[in-house]
């Protein structure tokens, strides 16, 4: 989100009826949202295809564990 601004955060706070009320809270929330976005944008670097099903994770972990156990 390139255009993340304090005003946008403020409008979403109103839209979602969040509880931050004063300037300090808004400033801290904006800082936290910005902080999150500075990390989250890196997800775009992972190349994803339609076959990348989020449910694959647990099965993947199980299979990796099975392979290791067999090797032992």
């Amino acid at each position: 989100m390139k255009d993340l601004s304090k005003e946008l955060v403020k409008s979403i706070v109103e839209l979602l009826d969040l509880k931050v009320a004063d300037e300090k809270s808004l400033k801290d929330l904006f800082g936290a949202v910005q902080g999150n976005y500075s990390f989250v944008k890196a997800i775009e670097d992972t190349i994803l295809t339609p076959s990348d099903d989020p449910m694959l994770y647990v099965r993947y972990l199980q299979e990796a564990g099975d392979r290791e156990s067999e090797e032992e």
Partner: protein, 467 residues
């Protein structure tokens, strides 16, 4: 042996003495309650004590054992439980004022398993509010009462360090077992995702939450894992797997094992004394016959990004209803944490879930030629109460990020990770070493930690509380 010395014994030693009738569970409970009385006004590790019930259960355990109905290593052993976990008939606050009168009707699965093994619940340990932070007020660090114990399982780790608990449970979503284990100089194990049930544990983030032991010795963590691991129909993440004999496996040698040491991320912006202690620890493991190999952990930015999106969005979703009614009863920092989660978009969240197997595969590929990976548990020692930022050789960072950046990658990838004490800085504050393994290879991780512990003396140093 004096009663107080019993509080620093290994669980296997205590179990043997209990079985032989040399130590009574009631004596253990009483010794712990005495120690709690000595330390609690300073350390504040507990939110609820169940002393009377513990005495009754201890008496029952004694009779069972005398009748030859010995159940195993935890029979007659007092345990302390993080207050994020439901305990039947015992107040469970989740660290929140909102749940100050909450009394669950059922035990969390892990609590139930410990009780079935004959363990005696001594009390509930403090947690950061809903596990949403690493400070754990009002608990203090037994190694320095002006310092935080870490969190969110800060009460459990502080109780072990203060000698006011023999063994405990914690939970870990971005480091909440390993942060306090590192800061309090004790042992904390985050098992593989899916090995230990989270049913009955108040969720922070369903896809990142783990439950595990916080103990004095690595062997004690192996004992605890033995009893809490396994499939649970109430937790859809748990897998049906054969549970190894974690305690017996500790006896296998570490000679020939291969350890990877990341050349990126995990050794950047680390306090000099912490770095020195961790480097020394790696040399110890090398002397024990392990070979050391440099490697690069790929896609750290993607891992931290996916972790942030999953954690933030799931926290917001989980708290949405409670927060709508009780926002005024949350800590200020929790409010900001929860509200920031509403700003994660659906596509960011879903792409994080989709990226997760790929990122995990990349980490496992980086680890393909090693058995474990070694990193500092924390870039720093326990911060002073009230500090919000870490300063590391001129580098300034938000304290929450400092606490999670070496640990959260293994919540996202689900790999088992152990924190053990590997030294002390010049202020006598503990330093943690993190040992990461491959999926469901807890035996290997524990073995490396156990051999290191046997070869060093750090675990013998005791926090002097009261000061």
């Amino acid at each position: 042996m004096k009663k107080s010395n019993l509080l620093y014994e290994r669980l296997t030693t205590l179990a043997s003495k209990i079985r032989e009738g040399e130590v009574s569970p009631r004596g253990l409970v009483n010794a712990l309650l005495e120690r709690i009385k000595e330390t609690e006004d300073k350390v504040k590790a507990y939110v609820t004590l169940t002393g009377e019930e513990a005495r009754r259960t201890a008496e029952k355990a004694e009779k069972e054992i005398q009748r030859g109905q010995y159940r195993g290593l935890l029979h007659g052993i007092p345990v302390s439980i993080k207050d994020l976990m439901d305990t039947k008939g015992v107040k469970t606050t989740y660290g929140s004022r909102i749940f100050r009168e909450n009394i669950p009707n059922e035990d969390a699965t892990v609590v139930k398993k410990l009780k079935e093994a004959g363990a005696i619940m001594l009390g509930k340990t403090n947690t950061h509010e809903f596990a949403l932070g690493g400070i754990t007020p009002p608990t203090r660090n037994p190694w320095g009462l002006d310092r935080i114990p870490g969190g969110s399982s800060g009460g459990s780790a502080a109780a072990i360090a203060a000698g006011s608990a023999l063994t405990t449970l914690g939970s870990d979503t971005g480091g909440s077992i390993r942060i306090p284990a590192s800061y309090c100089g004790v042992v904390g194990l985050k098992p593989t995702y899916g090995l230990v049930s989270r049913a009955g544990v108040f969720p922070e983030s369903w896809s990142l939450d783990h439950v595990g032991p916080i103990t004095r010795y690595v062997e004690d963590s192996a004992v605890m894992l033995q009893f809490i691991a396994g499939y649970d129909e109430k937790d859809p993440a748990t897998r049906k797997r054969k549970i190894p004999d974690y305690v017996a496996d500790l006896q296998n040698s570490v000679e020939g094992l291969r350890a990877g040491v990341p050349r990126n991320h995990f050794f950047e912006h680390v306090d000099r004394e912490v770095l020195s202690a961790v480097r020394q620890a790696i040399k110890v493991l090398e002397r024990l016959g392990m070979s050391i190999h440099e490697l690069t952990v790929p896609a750290i930015d993607g891992i931290m990004g996916a972790y942030t999106a999953l954690d933030s969005a799931e926290v917001a979703a989980n708290h949405r209803r409670i927060y709508a009614e009780h926002a005024h009863e949350y800590m200020y920092e929790s409010k900001v944490y929860i509200e920031a989660g509403f700003f994660i978009s659906a596509t960011q969240y879903i792409d994080s879930l989709r990226a997760r197997p790929k990122l995990t595969a990349q980490v496992l590929e980086a680890m393909k030629d090693v058995d474990v990976m070694l990193t500092p548990s924390q870039p720093i020692v326990a911060p002073k109460i009230g500090e919000k930022e870490a300063f590391i050789d001129g580098y300034k960072e938000d304290l929450m990020l400092t606490m999670v950046r070496f640990l959260a990658p293994f919540n996202l990838t689900g790999l088992p990770a152990l924190s053990i004490c590997c030294g002390f800085n010049s202020d006598n504050l503990p330093v943690g070493l993190q040992i990461i393994g491959k999926p469901f290879q807890e035996s290997t991780v524990l073995r490396v930690g156990h051999y290191y512990e046997q070869a060093t003396e750090w675990h013998k140093r005791l926090a002097k509380v009261p000061l």
